[in-house]
Symmetry: C2
Subunit: 429 residues, 2 copies
């Protein structure tokens, strides 16, 4: 079966894609006009796939096709096409659970590893907006709805154990994508690895410290084990600000090809980590001292609102619709039972917060010392300034990972970040 | 496919079984003589299946066939035949990992849900021996080898994440058997449930206390969630002393039809729980006061040896062959790294011990208030005496589940058991 699929696969560049789409009546109508007039542009700036925007007389669509290798690296790093299947599966589920917060699915071809979605316009990648200092007033409310609903409704709190096991099995084959995370986030930044890079020479000392920090190595290894063996819910798996498209009034989560049943804190941590990096990087994007102060205040406020909003919505779902096999309501009758279960819900969220803090730290460190960096820091042209802002983020991340228990609430995190805003690290070189 | 299988399934009673076996050349040779002379006896005393012993002129075999319902209850409680497939899968893996500690597999027919194994003779079910006051000098060493090897080599410490996910998916379909555990162990004993039973009237008050004990309900619910969502290793899933056959010199683990990827502490806890129940029940089997004192001392010593032996062997495997993706050795180089990793191994075992203590408690309570009881207590004819020994076990179990952290070492468990040996509970009625 896999062999057949592979046999039929071909990369659809512009001409072939035009013919392919023209043969699909629904898409042809949606685009409108003569297919030869459609404007097709390859816009993929991610690490893995081809992405085309196709515009016709009537409307536009986005087409994503997986390549049999990692685009960022090339054919020397093969990667299974099946990830397009898992992405499609995850996107379908997310669309059911969080309608309006993911792009509408228009077409999927498993053999071609190709998915067609609504064109998100005028949305931009949120990370670009954050670099520009743009606030997104809808973001916290939307992302917390997405997180709370996709995580709660695929967890043991909402599903029977049998349904949950079916879900786990359905995504078990996506292990190649999980392995990218396991290697690039949870292992390589902490050891000598060919693909690591960082802002040299300024962060050479910090990089060496990380490689020698055994408390940190234990902490990251515990997080890695949790990532591998805690199928708590269907997680997005790559929920950074480059996987979110926004306007002032809309939020759309894209690119769930890393989806699998994993720890919820990995998604929540990804959101917090990327906001925190936007916060620290902001100092490197100032035109004049302090001219991004309001933006930075909004970022930290958003960090707080994301956690409290997520926790609040997740708890409300739990209180309202606990149909899963975990914590059966039949064991918590009466006033005493109700109160005790509510206390346990709070304790559950406290454990999830600790996971979130740890995973957020891991996501920060990988973006500064691992293979894949982000434009928040990369667009800071003054390398010394870039390294300074990166070192601040790493200092917070190290504490978050090793002394996780010291962060009891999200304001402990934002407070610590604020204190490091102007800290001057010792740099190498 | 499933439909076909179901269509071909038929229950093989004596005559049909004789014909079936006679058509299998290897088994025919092993049994020897004319098939009409084979002695076929149904001996199943478990809750779920048919078990036949077949003896010929030359040798004997054991034949196990799953029924499409729970034997203990009848056709009103259907149960999928696929459990025979999972049992076969688990038994095959256990045979590779712990050779000589499970019965040799001779034949398997998936459509018939039928497995043929070597006849274990003169082995007896260990529980029967314990009721009789028999010591088993090989037991602790053998069972700890079985546990350490089957659990370690199917864990993230020994497998790649991809292999582990394949294993999880391969057993995900065994959810109907998991659900029996989820209901009968982790839920029903703590609420009004038709299938519950206990030694009436004497334990009526204790049963009511359990149903009203919200700290206990939280603790059992945490354990249930751990059971459902912690695929740490391929566990046996039903590792009580009724699933172990012994002689003075041999130990064989049987009946892994509840196998799936779950928490290791569930297996370890099952062994400890059933030894602890044998200990408490022993007082009810005395001929004269104190005549089983040496046996009881051996039981508690065995509880200690099982945990320390298991932990020691598991740690040795980890130190010697850590090929899995968890705790990669490349992060723990040098003297400092080696020491820190060793400390983490100890911390890992400490967490596993806490799980073990909790699960052991759950296994005790279900045998006294749930559907399935055991002969350790059931063969105590004096109901007041039976209830007294049961109440002692339950008192220990309640503490183990709610104050798990107070049990730091296994001698904390055996010490607490010893103190309750002659405790006189208040009984109802």
């Amino acid at each position: 079966m896999t062999g057949d699929r592979a046999g039929d696969y071909r990369i659809l560049h512009e001409a072939a894609l035009r013919d392919y789409l023209a043969a699909l009546p629904d898409l042809k109508v949606r685009l409108g006009g003569d297919p030869v007039s459609w404007a097709i542009t390859e816009v993929g700036d991610g690490n893995l796939n081809l992405v085309f925007i196709v515009k016709g007389a009537r409307g536009g669509i986005a087409v994503k096709q997986a390549l049999p290798y990692v685009r960022l690296v090339g054919e020397s790093w093969p990667l299974p096409l099946s990830r397009a299947h898992y992405e499609y599966l995850a996107l379908s589920r997310q669309a059911e659970l969080a309608p309006g917060l993911v792009p509408a699915l228009l077409h999927h071809n498993e053999k071609l590893a190709l998915t067609v979605m609504e064109l998100l316009e005028p949305h931009i990648i949120m990370r670009k907006g954050l670099v520009a200092g743009t606030k997104y007033p809808r973001f916290a409310d939307d992302i917390t709805t997405f997180m709370a609903r996709t995580l709660f409704f695929t967890s043991d709190l909402a599903l029977s154990a049998a349904e949950k096991k079916q879900g786990i099995a359905a995504f078990a084959g996506n292990h190649a994508l999980c392995k990218i995370t396991e290697d690039l986030i949870f292992t390589d930044p902490y050891r000598i690895a060919e693909q690591n890079r960082w802002t040299v020479p300024y962060l050479d000392g910090v990089a060496a410290d990380l490689r020698d920090d055994m408390d940190l190595h234990i902490a990251i290894s515990r997080l890695k084990l949790k990532f591998m063996a805690s199928p708590e819910a269907l997680i997005h798996g790559d929920l950074h600000t480059g996987s979110i498209m926004v306007t002032d009034s809309q939020t759309r989560v894209i690119d769930p090809e890393f989806a699998f049943y994993g720890p919820m804190g990995f998604d929540a941590g990804a959101v917090l980590a990327n906001l925190l990096m936007a916060y620290f990087a902001s100092a490197g994007h100032e035109g004049a001292p302090g001219d991004r102060a309001a933006f930075e205040a909004w970022v930290l406020e958003t960090v707080e609102n994301v956690w409290t909003g997520f926790a609040g919505k997740f708890l409300d779902l739990w209180r309202g619709s606990a149909a899963g096999d975990a914590y059966p309501v039949s064991l918590f009758g009466g006033e005493k039972g109700t109160a005790r279960l509510e206390a346990e819900r709070q304790a559950y969220m406290q454990r999830l917060f600790a996971d979130t803090v740890g995973f957020a730290a891991a996501k920060i460190i990988r973006r500064i010392f691992g293979l894949a960096h982000n434009i928040d820091f990369e667009l800071i042209e003054d390398l010394r300034m870039r390294a300074t802002t990166e070192a601040r983020a790493v200092r917070l991340a190290r504490t978050m990972m090793v002394e996780t228990g010291a962060f009891r609430t999200v304001t402990d995190v934002t407070g610590a970040a604020r204190k490091l805003r102007n800290w001057m690290p010792e740099l190498s070189g």
